[in-house]
Amino acid sequence: MEPVLLRARGVPNSRHIDTYLAAGGYEGLKKALTMDPEAVTKEVLDSELRGRGGAGFPTGRKWTFVPKEHPGPKYLICNADESEPGTFKDREIIEYDPHLLIEGIAIASYAIRANTAYIYIRGEFVRWARILETAIAEARQRDILGASVMGSNYRLDVWVHRGAGAYICGEETSLIESLEGKRGFPRLKPPFPAVVGVFGKPTVVNNVETLACVPSILTRGAAWFASIGRPRNTGPKLYCVSGHVRRPGVYELPMGVTFREIIEEHCGGIRDGHTLKAFFPGGSSAPVMTPDQIDVKADFDACAEAGSMLGSGGVIVLDDSVDMVEAAANLAHFYAHESCGQCTPCREGSDWAMDILDRILEGHGRPEDPATLLRICQYASQGMTICPLGDAFALPISSIVKKFPYEFERHIAAATPRPPKKLPVLPWAGPRPGFDGQ
């Protein structure tokens, strides 16, 4: 397949607007502006494009949730927070083709009748924030953004907003809180952002890759897009492969290639002398998969059928050198650190799971630990939490416990009991001198 999203990778001076225009850039936006916003949405709906941010929600459907007759402003937010472990695709698009993203943003904003769009970018991404600023300035100078988008009477301003470095701010509602200047705490849904979003106004949040798919849907048509992959799982997809493969990296492949193709063909297989032990199909929040599932198609529905999820498309490959308990502990540390702390099951659960896993690794595992871990994970999933981060920590960890029980047993069999520590007792503070008269 010829690349669509990574077309510009390797092209000299690819970031410049002239390079982009020369390659037929902004044609999709031009075309969209001649159409009704509803017709644009219809086109995206027909393409069966599904969100690339993790949940895989049909993008066109999301756009239709914005109340059309809503009087005040509406907003589009491009989610460039990309913090999911094992995911590094969005920055690739921004690095080589920022105008592709801006064109996608402009088309999406037009479709939902938003006059302001924000790119919420991960705080550490200073380089890519600068690239976007430059590209936006170029587009504004050419009247592609601003009071009159490409000569039409549609106005659009795009702003880059840098986050302050929290994984949770990639979750759309806490992203919105953070954009409003508050602590990045997720909101309970419903109401969904499409109805009550940033500043209380209807807001669509889309991932960078999702938006980068939109221009080609307009120029080449929904049918072309839908012809890639299989029904409900269409279009080109960026797979970020990391871990114990020979050639890790970002690969643009048609949706629905198998993991075997990705790992063995494109990435050159597992590194020498080792065999595949497990892989996470879609970032660290997806339940782990085992070598017998390597022929599963890397698309939304197939991964879901296999008991996992495509998520962000970050394929993390682990070979036989990996201790799965250590892998689980590693994940637990990440989630315990990144849990925003708002709701009990996720805050306390992730911390508790981390402590148990650390204890097992320190050689003090107990026979009941796997069952306790499973129970903690159960407490934090199934909608018991405000946002899906609860699931994001519970599902992969419980999947490891379930699929690699013998690894836990090995640790626990060799364990020694931990010497009990004394529980400290607080001495009574007693009256404090200083208050006179008492």
Partner: protein, 830 residues
């Protein structure tokens, strides 16, 4: 129109109000739902997950009741095994990192977490018992913080932010999670309201010993009304061994809904202050010596008789903290028993605003808006001072209105405070500029809106008023207020657009500007806008002391009779009376809770006023400066020792219920009046008779609300010449933690905020070369004083805030006569 939604709960069909949350519905219907992070005063949080209920119509999905709005056709289960399991799980998770040192935790027995453990049980689930050690948390002179007992419900944070508007607390990432903390771990410097401690469902926040823990469950006894300001907050003192050891307030008690300020919550230690007077004193050979009540009362009676015999005047001033009953008795005593018209509330902030400002225009010496109107207003205009310093409850009411987005607040004054960063618009007017601002607005409304002018033209006095108002041109107003004409126009338009406008005029000793003039101008503006007496609209004058309104209502004023009628033969106003005393015309001066030498502006009296008076009686709980000139001193009961009723600034009459007996040797004010009257041969009306008279008075006020008198425009004064201010403004208006008189005897409040200190903005402290905690030399035209320097971020640059009343010599000189404002010279002193 609230729509009704029907919801099935545990098989019962309940009628819910559209828009309310499931939790509100369930609580209203008497269904028990455990919560840790919910409080109706603040926004829902959804964190603790104890309120999960199951939705049968959605395959048993568990939803948090506090954050889920009711939906037509919802089917809920609150008592199923799945729900119980889910609740217990949250407790298991919360306990995993909890210290569980209940036996030594002072909150044990009142702790919500403990209560839920006992009620829900966690049997069957093993609790993670991790080594939880004490960690350090928020540092404060008021609060002890144990983060290891915290369940991160954030109630403390949300109350401090949303109800107090202080935002002293927040969450901070620490090793191993998040924790309640102050910004950059600074020592807590806040309003010390104690709300955070009162709301904490666990033992994580405690009052620092020796303060008792805040009680959390209603003890026995009825709530009483706070005596320290006219907000009318309801509180219940917790009593141990005959002493008030703590104060609680309940969410269901109006108007404060469980909220108290530092004064209400902590000033109760003045009851047991060692400085308290516990025996009457009489002057013998120039010295005050303890004596019996019998002798003291006899001395007073002789003083009265002597003045009468000499044909000299008899004058009494009663503090507006007197209960309605006692105030009624005092005026009856003076007017009836003694036969003198010279009785009143003395120099009391707010009295002139009501009697000389509101009454001539609106017909009664009462505010026309109450707290319900204030909450319902869509626009609130606050003048003269920041209620977060003078009337904390008013601040919280408007903060809540702004949070609901149903209210806009505009504030205009020259002083410092903390509310301005929350309001929609703040106009920094020059000192004394509020009156001109109001007339400037009126002029714009008159010239811009012919309809308004036409409608107002029917009101008595319109022509003269309009002619006067028209002198307040843009140029004049700018010269007096320093505000650009465009902003005045914009404000006028904003006021015109409002449907329900409340104008708030706080009064307090030391607030610059003539309170009566501002109240009059504000009343005129409201009449022009047709908002002076409608639901959600009107004028709200906030007096300084707890029962100013009640005292005026029952005729404790030289010009008013009980019920609001005018006295046929008006008595002397306080300043005038003091001048007459100085001239030797007063033979008997009765100062009930007043301290002219310590607490009144020096220019309003001379020491010779007191020396010139033939016989001076001081009735107070403490020795004041004025007692030096007294012939007899009578000790009285205060605060939680008192019975009776008081009327808040909102015009609502509320009861006082004594929680403790006064110390032996101390008598209630009313008893003293009665005893004196009896000895003078003309007993005062009985308790029942007083209550009958008061009932008639308050019924009359109620009727006046429904059939209000017609308004009259009072002509504005000719505009004064423009005023400029350059230098440091001396701000001697009230401070949140000290009302100036009683509270200065509270050791706790004194520790939290020293009395004799000058508070300045950090930039000024630096610019003047001062050191925080060091000393500064303050000089005005009339006095000088040395004071400790405190940095206060709420103080505006170029002003110096000093408490208006204090026992320190020299400070009285700083007080300007009502109407003045002063500049002060601040220097570093070594």
């Amino acid at each position: 129109m609230p729509k009704v939604v029907s919801v099935t709960v545990d098989g019962r069909i309940l009628a819910a109000r559209a828009g309310e949350s499931v939790l509100e519905l369930l609580r209203r219907s008497g269904i028990w739902i455990p919560t840790l992070c919910f409080d109706p005063r603040v926004s829902a949080y959804g964190g603790c997950r104890l309120c999960l209920v199951s939705r049968r119509d959605r395959a048993g999905e568990l939803v948090p009741a506090c954050e889920t709005p009711v939906v037509e056709g919802m089917v809920l289960e609150t008592d199923s095994p799945a729900v119980h399991r889910a609740r217990r799980r949250q407790l298991v998770l919360l306990l995993g990192e909890h210290r569980l040192d209940c036996p030594v935790c002072p909150t044990s027995g009142r702790c919500t977490l403990e209560l839920l453990l006992h009620r829900l049980g966690i049997a069957g689930d093993d609790v993670r018992r991790w080594e939880v050690t004490a960690t350090s948390g928020v540092q404060s002179p008021l609060i002890v913080h144990h983060p290891e007992r915290c369940v991160l419900c954030t109630l403390c944070i949300r109350l401090c932010h949303e109800v107090q508007g202080v935002s002293a607390l927040g969450l901070e990432r620490v090793d191993g999670g998040i924790q309640v903390a102050t910004f950059a771990s600074r020592t807590l410097d806040c309003e010390y309201c104690g709300q955070c401690v009162a709301a904490c469902p666990t033992g994580a926040l405690q009052l620092r010993p020796p303060l008792d823990p805040v009680p959390r469950r209603v003890g026995t006894g009825l709530p009483t009304t706070c005596s320290l300001c006219p907000c009318g907050c309801q509180l219940l003192p917790a009593v141990r061994d005959g002493r008030v050891v703590a104060v609680e307030s309940q969410l269901s008690w109006l108007p404060n809904r469980g909220q108290l300020c530092a004064k209400g919550r902590f000033a109760h230690d003045v009851l047991v202050s060692p400085e308290r007077l516990t025996s009457p004193l009489v002057r013998l050979e120039g010295r005050l010596v303890p004596t019996s009540w019998e002798r003291a009362l006899q001395a007073v009676v002789e003083g009265v008789r002597q003045a009468q015999a000499q044909g000299r005047a008899l004058v009494a001033f009663g503090t507006p903290r007197l209960t309605c009953e006692d105030a009624f008795l005092l005026q009856h005593f003076m007017r009836g028993t003694v036969g003198s018209p010279h009785v009143g509330v003395g120099l009391a902030a707010g009295a002139r605003a009501l009697v000389e400002g509101v009454r001539p225009v609106l017909g009664t010496a009462r505010s026309t808006a109450d707290f319900t109107d204030l909450a319902a207003a869509d626009l609130v205009l606050i003048l003269r001072a920041d209620p977060s310093r003078t009337h904390p409850l008013v601040k919280s009411i408007v903060l809540a209105g702004m949070r609901r987005r149903s209210q806009q607040v505009v504030m205009a004054h020259a002083l410092s405070g903390g509310l301005e960063r929350h309001v929609d618009e703040f106009l920094l007017v020059r000192p004394l500029g509020e009156e001109a601002l109001l007339y400037g607005i009126c002029r714009h409304l008159l010239t811009e809106s012919a309809t308004r002018a036409r409608q107002a033209a029917g009101v008595a006095g319109f022509d003269q008023w309009q002619a006067g108002v028209l002198h307040y041109t843009d140029e004049v107003v700018q010269g007096l207020t320093g505000i650009d004409p465009e902003r005045v126009v914009a404000l006028a338009r904003r006021l015109k657009r409002a449907h329900r406008l409340v104008v708030v005029v706080p009064a307090g000793m030391g607030i610059p500007g003539d309170e009566a003039a501002v109240a009059r101008a504000a009343a005129g503006l409201l009449v022009l806008l047709g908002c002076h007496r409608k639901p959600g609209g009107g004028l709200l004058v906030l007096g300084e002391k707890a029962n100013l309104q009640g005292c005026l209502d029952v005729g404790l004023h030289p010009r008013l009779l009980p019920g609001g009628g005018s006295a046929e033969e008006p008595g002397w106003e306080p300043v005038h009376a003091m001048a007459r005393a100085g001239a030797g015309e007063v033979g008997f001066l009765y100062l009930v809770g007043h301290d002219p030498l310590g607490g009144w502006p020096r220019a309003t009296h001379r020491r010779d006023g007191l020396e010139g008076a033939g016989f001076v009686v001081v009735q107070d709980a403490f020795l004041t400066k004025t007692t030096r000139a007294a012939n007899v001193v009578l000790p009285v009961s205060i605060l939680a020792e008192r019975e009776g009723t008081v009327v808040g600034a909102d015009g609502v009459r509320r009861p006082l219920h004594a929680a403790v007996a006064p110390p032996p040797g101390v008598a209630p004010d009313g008893e003293i009046f009665r005893e004196l009257a009896r000895r003078l041969g003309m007993p005062l009306p009985s308790k029942e008779e007083v209550e009958r008279s008061l009932a008639a008075v308050f019924e009359g006020h109620l009727r006046a609300r429904h059939r209000p008198p017609l308004p009259t425009f009072m002509p504005p004064p000719p505009p004064p010449p423009p005023r400029t201010w350059r230098g440091t403004l001396l701000d001697v208006s009230p401070q949140l933690l000290h009302s100036g008189s009683v509270t200065r005897y509270s050791a706790v409040l004194r520790e939290l905020a020293p009395i004799v200190a000058v508070r300045m903005a950090p930039e000024d402290v630096a610019a003047f070369g001062l050191t925080p905690g060091g000393r500064a030399h303050l000089t005005t035209g009339t006095g000088e004083e040395m004071m400790m320097v405190r940095v206060d971020r709420t103080v505006r640059p170029s002003s110096a805030v000093v408490l208006w009343q204090s026992n320190a010599e020299g400070l009285g000189a700083f007080l300007a006569v009502d109407g003045e404002a002063r500049l002060v010279d601040v220097r570093r002193s070594r």
